[in-house]
């Protein structure tokens, strides 16, 4: 312990002998750490937003379908149990939020034009907690109940169809016997979404009205369940699986939308690689600084060894010196990154490349997001790799021959 104290004192004072070099090195470490954390926060912000948006744009956290639904998402893959049985058992299970839907591909026709869309027959009261649409109505109203005979469509779709609030549209789809089922609906609400794709491809109607139109009374083909954290949905999957038993497919969101799912994992990999790359770029300067520091002190290192200090203590001293350097850089870098993220808490507007971000599935307002996990990761990467990098100069110092070191002029 006392050894550590002397070593730390010596290391600290030695650090400030060449203050210019130390300050330059600390600045470099600071910039590196800042870049590690800030870049990660930006990427995390983007991906998390994407995932949250994606989840709100329907998958929920866990989805339940009849087997084969994902391959053939339509009226032919209904859930084996009745709508009311689902309601009874899911309500009893006490989920944060859940909703049953009937979801089919359909063609919507206005007086002017037609488009292919996905039609969602929903229970508006339950969906309020799950989909984004309820909160994003810009004109008119959201659906009121499952029997509502109106529809809610996206702003862009309304424009494409040259229709508007209050006008009628015709929805065409098929019933289980592949008879064309069509019905006119009045547009009661128009929503806007952060991604244009949502606006053009989603159309919402009351569940009962759709069941009637498609001739499937009291049947649904999708149930979505919301847990409390999208990063931890496995318990929900287990609970739902126990509840519904075999014969249906229970999928977490990251399997329903594998692009979003992979984004998360790819992100984790990217973050680590980025941190290591920045560290490596730093490491040359760090090792260089230590090599110079050791080189300048050949004599006193020799002296200390001549006085009886063990090589391991010398090694320790250099490693501590390196750690002090790193800790100072980390401290400032962390604070700076935190401050930058705070300063940008209202988001960074990159709408000049909005259409491009939409291709990534991301919106054009970036909110950097600082997570404890990433900050700890950056610090651990720097400290561990930093210690390893300083071992080489430290080892050299501890191998000095005291006589040569002392007699050197």
């Amino acid at each position: 312990m006392y050894m550590l104290r002397i070593m730390s004192t010596l290391a600290w004072r030695n650090l400030w002998r060449n203050h210019r070099r130390t300050i330059i090195m600390i600045s470099a470490i600071t910039i590196g750490v800042w870049a590690m954390i800030f870049m990660t926060a930006l990427m995390r912000g983007m991906v998390n937003e994407m995932v949250r948006d994606g989840i709100r744009a329907l998958p929920g956290h866990v989805q339940i379908h009849g087997r084969g639904f994902l391959d053939d998402p339509g009226i032919n893959n209904l859930l084996p149990m009745k709508d009311e049985d689902v309601t009874a058992s899911f309500d009893a299970a006490g989920f944060d939020a859940w909703a049953g839907r009937i979801r089919v591909p359909a063609v919507v026709t206005s007086e002017r034009d037609s488009r292919g869309i996905t039609l969602y027959g929903i229970d508006p009261v339950r969906e309020r907690d799950i989909t984004f649409v309820a909160g994003d109505i810009v004109e008119g109203r959201f659906l009121e109940d499952a029997d509502d005979s109106g529809v809610v469509i996206g702003r862009k779709l309304a424009d494409n169809l040259e229709t508007e609030l209050g006008k009628r549209i015709v929805i065409m789809s098929q019933d289980p016997d592949n008879e064309i089922a069509d019905r006119g609906f009045r547009i009661v609400g128009i929503f806007e979404a952060r991604l244009e794709a949502y606006e053009t491809s989603m159309l919402f109607a009351g569940k009962s009205a759709i069941q009637k139109m498609l001739n499937v009374p009291d049947r649904i083909n999708e149930v979505v369940v919301l847990g409390d954290d999208y990063r931890n949905v496995d318990p929900v999957v287990r609970k739902v699986t126990d509840l519904v038993g075999p014969g249906v497919e229970v999928l977490p969101w990251y399997e329903v939308d594998s692009y979003l799912g992979t984004m998360m994992t790819v992100m984790d990999g990217f973050v680590l690689v980025w941190m290591i790359v920045v560290f490596l770029a730093l490491s040359f300067g760090l090792v260089n600084t230590l090599v110079m520091a050791v080189f300048e002190r050949v004599r006193e290192i020799g002296l200390m060894m001549a006085l009886g200090m063990r090589p391991t203590s010398i090694l320790l001293q250099i490693v501590i010196e390196s750690l002090l350097l790193l800790l100072l850089g980390l401290l400032i870098g962390n604070v700076l990154a935190g401050a930058t993220v705070y300063w940008l808490r209202d988001g960074i507007d990159i709408s000049v490349v909005a259409a491009g971000m939409e291709m990534f599935g991301a919106s054009s307002l970036l909110y950097p997001q600082l997570t404890a996990h990433d900050v700890v990761l950056a610090n651990v990467v720097v400290l561990i790799l930093g210690s390893i990098a300083s071992l080489s100069p430290a080892w050299r110092a501890s191998r000095y021959d005291p006589i040569e070191a002392i007699t050197k002029v």
Partner: protein
């Protein structure tokens, strides 16, 4: 028991294709409480011999015994321990750790030895006073004169009361007045504590203080004079 015994020490350095015999069958015996000067012209092998005695350097052949213990076959760690606990060292120059104050330099060895802080402070203050540096305890080496620096080095060498102090041309960078003061300090320490001193020098003035004068030339012991009788 003798403080230092060297038996037939040999050490050869190669410089290009030239072989230099820095130690050539050198044997000496120094009793406890001795005050010995090693004198030789520059390049005579003084430093090599001191380093062999101090366990800094291993001779090619021969034996080195310190206080009844053979040391030339010890490992690096044991040698470090030996220097730490049994031997005080004063070098020609560059004796002090630049980032430590006078007191910290003196305490440094004790700290490595693991002496508790209270005791360390007491001892270092006392020893700095003894070498005449009262009031300069908190100065760093760069803020002291050459003589003052050497006194700090001496204080550090003797503070943990080693049985043996090795000094390699301790006065080489000092003026004559300071040299005399330093030598008088050595003599006094030798008298009061019975510490054995081995001082390498080629300075006539220093040799005058020695009880015993060992002369070397080209790595050989050429003369051994007891000066007390005279």
């Amino acid at each position: 028991m003798t403080a230092v015994t060297c038996i037939e020490l040999c050490k050869t350095y190669r410089q290009g294709d030239q072989e230099i015999k820095a130690l050539d069958h050198a044997s000496i015996d120094i009793g406890e409480g001795g005050f010995v000067c090693l004198s030789a012209p520059s390049g005579g092998g003084k430093t090599t011999l001191l380093n062999a005695i101090g366990g800094l350097d291993i001779p090619d052949s021969g034996e080195v015994w310190i206080a009844g213990k053979r040391i030339d076959n010890l490992g690096k760690g044991e040698l470090a321990n030996l220097r730490l606990h049994k031997i005080g060292y004063v070098f020609q120059a560059y004796n002090l750790v630049p980032v430590l104050s006078a007191r910290e330099n003196v305490e440094f060895v004790m700290q490595v030895q693991g002496v508790p802080a209270g005791q360390r402070a007491e001892k270092s203050m006392a020893i700095l006073k003894e070498v005449g540096l009262q009031g300069l305890e908190d100065r760093r080496p760069a803020e002291m004169s050459g003589g003052q620096q050497q006194r700090v080095a001496v204080a550090r060498a003797i503070v943990s009361r080693p049985a043996l102090v090795l000094a390699d041309e301790p006065t080489a960078n000092l003026d004559s007045k300071t040299s005399d003061a330093l030598m008088e300090l050595f003599v006094q320490l030798n008298k009061t504590h019975g510490t054995t001193f081995v001082i390498a020098t080629h300075d006539q003035r220093v040799m005058g203080y020695a009880k015993r004068l060992i002369k070397m030339l080209d790595g050989r012991i050429v003369d051994d004079i007891d000066q007390q009788a005279a």
